[in-house]
Symmetry: C2
Subunit: 408 residues, 2 copies
């Protein structure tokens, strides 16, 4: 586990006094029965590393530590090993039983986290067993300087909120998802199809194109940048097929026609949807478009309140395309800014903007909020690709998601 | 001539009353005897287009018009044709004989130029024949709203200043020299060698790289962007040799080794030296480095006063390299900002910065100022390439300049 590059996995250290319920919390978060769960205090001894997928954030490592308040000779060694874990952690969950109160142990850990600038989430477990008094919540906020999350590992109450809190509080490098690095191998040739006649500023490339070229170079691959008119010519100059073709969505149909069927083809929109969120959930959201019926409530959500143009994508174009796709009118609502409306359960679909003004963690937390409410969510890029019938091919680098789109 | 794309040639319309000396001025500017020169007023009838190179600006068209003040039936037609020329002109030279004074004709032309936002240069010709009274200069400035340039087409006095004024006053699109458009043909493959481990901001490419990619696409060619480590691999994926390789200077030696000898290879520095100035003059300046002797005066000129770092390129590195090249100390002087020192004739060489904060017209006017004074001028990029022995190969797309570097 220590060999895994740190940048690829969020290391979440779980601290807590003996029997606060650390191991059962991990199980609740992951729905797996990996940690030994026991009611005997101090069952967990040396820190235990559990690598797993915390969807939709991605790979995490939970570090399950021994309770720091263990006493005795053996206890001191274990306490030191637990403290050492702070050097490897990207985030700390402090699991507390609200019945036990705040001791020097919790105060000490919160101080260490502040010193190391580690995000600290206080998790009040066993919220099912006894109601948490407001006075205690206020004491946590005042003395540990953080808003606690109330959960019950037993009933799973609040586990969704905790996952969202983990995503929101992840260090900022968790926004730096690679765009294509995991899709290319060293020495690969990636053809980028970049129309220059459409709104591209003179002498420049638009930022997503530059970021993609750079990411390809950063992963020891090669970027063959061409206009859509030259795509066919560029492929014919290569003595092997390109390993991947990435096109601007506006040139997708031409790129589709000119890219051999066995070459993976995708769009900048799809790559950025994946980069800014969770492509699997968004593709599932695209499928939900096919289930929409006239009169269904659809929420169009934008992260910022930008100036709307006459033919605004969220206000005019997407509603028009969705109506055509459904074959009747839909009950559209719009929201912009940091919050969804209260009643999102009522919607049959959320169509979210490309999230250019918010970071990955924020977009993921919105996706999770929709998932919690059981509402399919899709973003503009994936939605438009699906309505225009190009999503299936644009997912060709992600065959497992092509299956999602096909299934049931 | 009318078929030549306007953007490629600066169209300079020459106006003036009959016999002000328009045609002889064109001859003086071009050292050619193309226009019919005569002392009979009104020799030039219909506008005459003369395409030529006005070094170092490049291709221009002089439009030699009939005097607007011609009278009579035939005269009226010619006057209208002359006025029509204003619709094709990028700049207007109004040639005046200071002895004749300002009439309604000059006032009318100046007004038309202001309306059309055409740059107007008032040229007071025959400055050799009679001294121009200060009162008349002031009248030109006040009534025609422009600083006049004093010349004698006969003795060539002031012609250098006029050329500099033409360059400085050219419309801003004359800064938009293509970077590589004239070096590539439709369908060409250009390999760009872009190191990413050196000071390049995370997730970005530096602007010169982006501009070059865009210029390649704008000219229907294809840009294969690779790190220096992948250059050899990229060439081996192509089933024909690349048509051009452009490398970051820092990777030049590796690019030199990995690019087949019959493939033109240059650097971003050389392309930008050409884009921002006059490569032929700068290469001649590089040759002058070989002639430097210990004790010679060298001017290091920077367009802006930037914050100097400890190992500043202009203050420390280039002087060190020049001393090593000469094998002794040199008498360095530095200047920054918009002006050269008064005494530039004393210098054996001017080494100018890359001109990133000034435009092409300004850099060209500085190059011309050095040429007027008979002082070789080179820029940082060309200077460094020459000192490090890579200039010859970096000029491989410009075989005529390779000859300049070899000659005498």
């Amino acid at each position: 586990m220590n060999e895994t590059p740190r940048a690829n996995r969020l290391h979440i250290a779980i601290f807590g006094r003996r029997n606060a319920g650390k191991s059962s919390l991990i199980n609740a978060l992951t729905n797996q029965d990996i940690a030994v769960v026991s009611d005997v205090p101090g069952t967990t001894t040396d820190p235990v590393y559990k690598a797993m997928e915390l969807l939709p954030l991605g790979p995490v490592v939970f570090i399950d530590t021994a309770g720091i308040d263990d006493e005795g000779e053996l206890g001191a060694l274990r306490v030191q090993r637990s403290i050492d874990v702070l050097n490897k952690a990207d985030m700390v969950l402090l699991v507390m039983d609200s019945g036990t109160g705040i001791s020097e142990y919790e105060m000490d850990l919160a101080r260490r986290c502040r010193e190391k600038k580690l995000p600290l989430l206080v998790v009040l477990n066993k919220a099912d067993a006894h109601p948490v008094p407001t006075s205690f919540l206020e004491e946590v906020i005042t003395r540990l300087e953080t808003d606690p999350v109330l959960v019950s590992a037993k009933t799973h109450q609040g586990i969704g909120d905790l996952k969202i809190a983990i995503v929101r509080n992840a260090p900022s490098q968790w926004d730096d998802q690679t765009l294509v690095g995991d899709l290319v191998r060293e020495g690969d040739t990636v053809v980028l199809v970049v129309p220059v006649d459409l709104a591209a500023p003179k002498g420049r490339l638009i930022l997503p194109q530059v970021q993609t070229i750079r990411d390809i170079l950063d992963h020891d691959a090669m970027a063959y940048v061409v206009k859509e008119r030259e795509l066919k010519a560029s492929i014919s100059t290569l003595n092997k097929k390109p390993d991947l073709v990435i096109t601007d969505s506006q040139a997708f149909l031409k790129a589709d026609a000119d890219t051999p069927l066995d070459v993976p083809l995708t769009s900048f929109s799809i790559l950025f949807a994946r980069n800014k969120g969770d492509l699997a959930t968004l593709v599932a959201g695209a499928k939900a478009i096919d289930e929409l019926k006239p009169g269904d409530k659809v929420l169009l959500a934008e992260a910022c309140s930008h100036h709307r143009m006459e033919d605004d994508i969220g206000k005019v174009k997407i509603p028009r395309w969705l109506r055509q796709s459904v074959g009747g009118d839909l009950d559209f609502q719009w929201c912009s800014g940091p919050r969804f409306p209260e009643n999102i359960e009522e919607f049959k679909l959320i169509v979210h903007c490309g999230a250019c003004t918010i970071n990955r963690r924020e977009m993921l937390s919105r996706i999770m909020r929709a998932q919690e409410a059981g509402v399919p969510i899709v973003n503009y890029g994936v939605c438009i690709a699906h309505i225009h019938g190009i999503l299936q091919r644009a997912l060709s680098p992600f065959p497992e998601l092509q299956e999602v789109l096909k299934d049931n």
